[in-house]
Structures are given as C-alpha cells and as structure tokens.
C-alpha cells in the first residue's frame, strides 16, 4: 500500500493521476465507439429480426478472444502504417472495442425483442409511424437492458485497458507491468486496487444513471403511490 500513499507518485508525467486519466481516456473512447456500433446494430437486428445468427455467433466468437494475443498481432499489422503513437493506440482501442461490442449488442437485441408486442401493436394501431414506435416505445422499453449491457461492457473495458501497457502505452497497466519488472509488489497492488476502484466507481455511476433515466414503470419500483386496490364500482342491477 505504501506506493499509493507516497506523494511522489501523485504527480508528474507518469504519476497516478496521469495514469488514471489515460486509462479513462482509452476506456471511454472505446466504450463510445462500441456503443455507436453495437446499439444501432442491436436495434436493427431486434426490430427486423434480420441477422439474428450474428448475435449468437459473433458475440461468442468475440467473447473467446485472447486479448493480449490479438493486441500484439494488431500492433504488428498496424504500427508500420502509422509512424506515431497512433500505431499503438489504435490496436489497443480495437481490442477494447471488440470486447465491449458483444455485451452491448446482445443486450440491446434482447431488450428490443423483449418489448411487449402488444404495446408495439397498439402503438402502430393508433397511427404511430415506424420511427416514432422506435423512439417512443421500443427504445424506452429496451433501455434497462441496453444500459446493463453498457455497464458490463464498461467493466470489461476498464479491467482490460491495463493491456495497453504491454505495448508501452500509459494507463494503470503501467503500475502492474513496471511493478512486475521491478519486483515492486507494492506498485502492482496499487495498480490492481486503482483499477478495481475505478471499475467500482463507474459501475455505481452507471447504476445511478440507470435509475434516473429508466421509467419506474419498467423497473417496477414503487414510487409514492396510493395502495393498489380495485375501485369497486358495482353496476346497479334492477
């Protein structure tokens, strides 16, 4: 733990704040790219039913991916084309995006599929056009599952972003790798703890956001409301 509490480690170009900043930067960029790919794709497949095979096949294939192996392969392929640090950043991002796509894709698909068909039918029957059904009914109803996909994707990304350090980039992985190289266990522990804290923090943040944006009608949280009872309105019989 000493490593964490040494003020010297909290400043400078490879101080802890910088490492956290880099770690987050890779993570969030990767998450954003993954979401931009996976959410629309999941919606499309969920709504049209086209390409369902992709969900199971692609998602499982990507899940089984050896991230470090892929990262090194990608560096070998890509870095010659990009002279700068980009040649290393790009492969890291690609690996992280590939990790994040499956949970978001499968959850978005499942979320859209699970929307009450009767509600969609009612919307169409009332004269909603296709786009409005999507934005007003299907998406809000799918939101809890989409967000839980994003949540597990972000956890994966934050813990996996340590691999960027393998190819001499920044991020909290530095502490693990440098610590190992220097036999400095205190530094390695600090890295692991910080990654865990970061993951925990974002998990809670997303849980909080989920509670704020998902309708209580879907999560079945009781908001302040009267007791649920049938209003007995017996019709008068003769």
């Amino acid at each position: 733990m000493n490593y964490l509490f040494d003020p010297a480690h909290w400043s400078g170009a490879d101080g802890i704040p910088t490492l956290i900043g880099e770690h987050l930067l890779y993570s969030l960029i990767a998450l954003a790219i993954a979401a931009v790919i996976a959410v629309p794709l999941g919606i499309y497949i969920g709504v049209t039913g086209k390409g369902v095979f992709m969900i199971a096949g692609l998602a499982n294939a990507l899940r089984a991916l050896p991230s470090v192996g892929l990262l090194i392969l990608l560096v070998l392929l890509i870095s010659p084309a990009f002279p700068s640090r980009m040649g290393y950043i790009l492969p890291s991002l690609i690996v992280l995006v590939l990790l994040a796509v499956p949970p978001i894709l499968t959850n978005t698909y499942a979320g859209v599929r699970a929307v009450d068909a009767a509600a969609v039918d009612a919307a169409r029957g009332m004269g909603f056009r296709t786009m409005k059904i999507l934005t007003d009914v299907q998406l809000p109803c799918a939101l809890p599952l989409v967000l839980s996909g994003v949540r597990s994707a972000l956890l994966q990304i934050i813990s996996t972003a340590t691999i960027a350090a393998y190819i001499s980039l920044g991020g909290l992985g530095r502490l693990l790798i440098d610590g190992k190289a220097q036999n400095d266990y205190s530094q390695m522990v600090a890295g692991a703890v910080l990654v865990a804290l970061l993951a925990l923090f974002f998990d809670q943040l997303l849980a909080f956001i989920t509670r704020r944006v998902v309708s209580p009608g879907l999560t079945r949280r009781t908001i302040k409301s009267a007791p649920v009872a049938e209003p007995v309105k017996t019709p008068v019989t003769v």
Binding site: A118, A122, S225, A226, V228, P231, P235
Partner: protein
C-alpha cells in the same frame, strides 16, 4: 359507417382467413363479429385499420375506400382496443390515456386534463393517474385501454376481445359500463368476441362468421335467437336460445301483476301470519322497497333481518320476459317481485302468468 365489399385475405402460406366478406357496420351502432376460434375475426378487424392489408376487395370508411389513404393517418381516425390492453409499460396511466391527443398535436397539459375526465368516465379514480400499468389489475388495465382509444374522440372504434382477459364478474361490470357509455357517445364500433353471450348482450347487430372466413349470418341478437339462418348458426347460438330469446322480449304490460300483502321489519309473528299467502310473506322497508321473504311459521318473536330469505331477484316492470320469469323462478315463494324504476314494489308474478303472456303473444315486440 364501415363497409366491407368482397374482402378476401389469403396469408402468404395460403391460409384463407377471410373469404369474400360483405358487411356493413352502420354509423353510431355497435356491430359484433363473433365466431369460433380461427374464423378470421381478428384478421377482418385489422384489415379495417390496415394493420393487415386485404388481398382483394375494398373496405370503406364513410364511403371512402381505405386503400388510398395514408395508413398512419387512417389509424389516427379510429380508436383501437386490443385484447390485453397493450398499455405502454413505461408511461403513467394518465400519459397512456393522453397518447392520441398528444400524437394529434394537442399540448400535453390539455391532453392530461382531458385524460383525467376520460378516466373518470370509464370508472377509474383520479388517484390512478400517476400509477404505471403494472400497478393495475387486468380489468383496470382494460378500462385504461378503452379510455386511451376514446381520448381523441374518434368516430370509429375497433375492439378485439376487449373484455376477455378478466374474470366473469369484472367482465359483466365492464360490459354494463361499456353499454352505458356507448349509449352516451354513440360511436360506430366493430367489436370482436368469440363469446356468443357477450355478442347477444352488447350488439346492436351481430355478424356470425364460420371457419374459412365466411359470413354465416348478420342479424340483430333477437333475430339470431329466433331465426338462425342455418344449422351452424343455430348450433353456435346455443341450446337454450328459446329461453334466452325471452331476454329480448319486453314485458310491455302484458303480464298480469298480482297484489302482494307486505309486512315491515319488526312486525309480530301474528301480523306476519295474517299477511302471508302460503308459507311466505314479503318484507319491505318504509319506502316499499323489497327486502326479502320470510316464513311466519318459523318466527319466534318479532320479524328481524336474519329471518329474511334473499334468494329472489326482483325484476323491473319495464324489463324483459326473461327477467320476469327469472324473478318468479328464483323466489322462494315462487312469486316473483316486480318493482318500478325507483325499486319500489308493484306486485308479484308467477311463472304461469309469465308463460301465459308469452303464449298469448307469439309476436311480442323485441327489445332492440
């Protein structure tokens, strides 16, 4: 008016769900499509708002063929109620009911005000406004579904088994309330059901369909009972249709109503014995409203509420032959209690009186 002209629907797999349907649902009337499962009722209904496109034939809305219209705009003119209500789970009840007005461009505020009125109209307390659909029972959700369809005040309504998802008691209530509502609003409605009793109870006219999507008979409920077009209709309408057709026959003063001596609660045993005819005496309250029957022989002391037999069902003098007959048959004294529109006693009838009246007038005026 909604009119089907030679409408056929063949699904891509070759199933002919509706076959050459000709049918007219008159303005302001409730037309019911009824028939066994799979006879094409839902398909017919959904072709009207073009959730399903007909294979051939034309459907008219007030003489205008629907095929040329923009489907979404067409649907906004027609209220649509589906079997399990299909409420939006993520929206509050008041926002569910506001859906159509908001879609049609009304401000959310105005739409909510209107929605609250409508909720009251279909028997939902205002305290439900902020609830979500999962917090309501099936019957309550069904009411919300009806309110939502009425919110834009459409001239036409389509209802697909709107009362089927609830228990018989609630269904009866919803039906009664719906009939009352329809008497006020007089919309052009097509309702689908597979329950012949519901069809006969609610419909101004009833279209019986047979499997294969053909119309078997289109008639008023009493015509269906008294002159079914063929064996299929006769069978579908049911075995006790003779008795049930009495439900469409107004008594219209043709049954002799006898005087009935009455006592009030607190009467002595002697008084009750003196007034009784046979073993039973009728007990009323101070305003001559019937309370029940009592047996003076079993009394010790004065007549109390727990001495009352409550099995009899009073009939209104303005009611139907069926209600009158049922009043007689359900009464322990076999004398059926007849009341006026305020629920006050007029007299009693026996089953024999009712049957005599039925036999005397084979062409009684029908209720609808």
């Amino acid at each position: 008016m909604i009119k089907f002209e030679n409408v056929t629907k063949a699904y891509p797999d070759g199933t002919v769900a509706v076959d050459g349907l000709n049918l007219e649902a008159p303005t302001g009337k409730l037309t019911i499509l009824v028939g066994p499962s799979g006879c094409g009722k839902t398909t017919s209904l959904r072709m009207i708002n073009r959730l399903i496109e007909p294979t051939s034939g034309t459907i008219y809305l007030d003489d205008e063929p629907t095929s040329g219209m923009d489907a979404a705009l067409l649907r906004r003119r027609i209220g649509y109620v589906i079997q399990h209500a299909g409420l939006f789970p993520h929206k509050t009840i008041v926002d569910n009911v506001s859906t159509m007005p908001v879609l049609l461009g009304e401000s959310r505020q105005k739409a909510r005000t209107k929605a609250l009125e409508l909720m009251e109209r279909v028997g939902l307390p205002a305290s439900f406004a902020k609830r979500y659909p999962w917090q309501l029972s099936g019957g309550q959700q069904q009411r919300v579904g009806v309110a939502r369809a009425l919110a834009s005040d459409p001239a036409f309504m389509l209802m697909d088994e709107p009362f089927s998802a609830v228990d018989p008691v609630v269904r009866g209530q919803l039906q009664e309330e719906f009939l009352r509502l329809q008497r006020e609003i007089g919309k052009t409605i097509i309702m689908v059901t597979h329950d012949i009793d519901e069809a006969l109870k609610l419909g101004d006219q009833v279209a019986v369909m047979r499997v294969g999507g053909k119309l078997a008979q289109m008639a008023t409920p009493s015509e269906l009972l008294t002159s079914p077009a063929d064996d299929f209709v006769a069978d579908f309408v049911g075995r006790d249709r003779g008795y049930r057709s009495l439900g469409f026959t107004k008594t219209a003063g043709s049954v002799a109503i006898g005087e009935e001596a009455v006592v009030q609660l607190g009467a002595s045993g002697e008084e009750a014995r003196a007034k009784a005819s046979g073993a039973w005496v009728l007990v009323v309250d101070g305003g001559r409203k019937p309370l029940g029957w009592a047996q003076p022989e079993l009394l010790n002391g004065e007549l109390k509420r727990e001495n009352l037999n409550l099995s009899g069902i009073p009939a209104a003098a303005s009611g139907t032959m069926r209600q009158l007959l049922d009043a007689a048959l359900s009464s322990p004294s076999r004398r059926g209690v007849v009341v006026n529109e305020h629920g006050e006693l007029i007299g009693t009838v026996t089953a024999t009186d009712v049957v005599k009246a039925i036999e005397a007038e084979p062409h009684l005026e029908t209720a609808r």
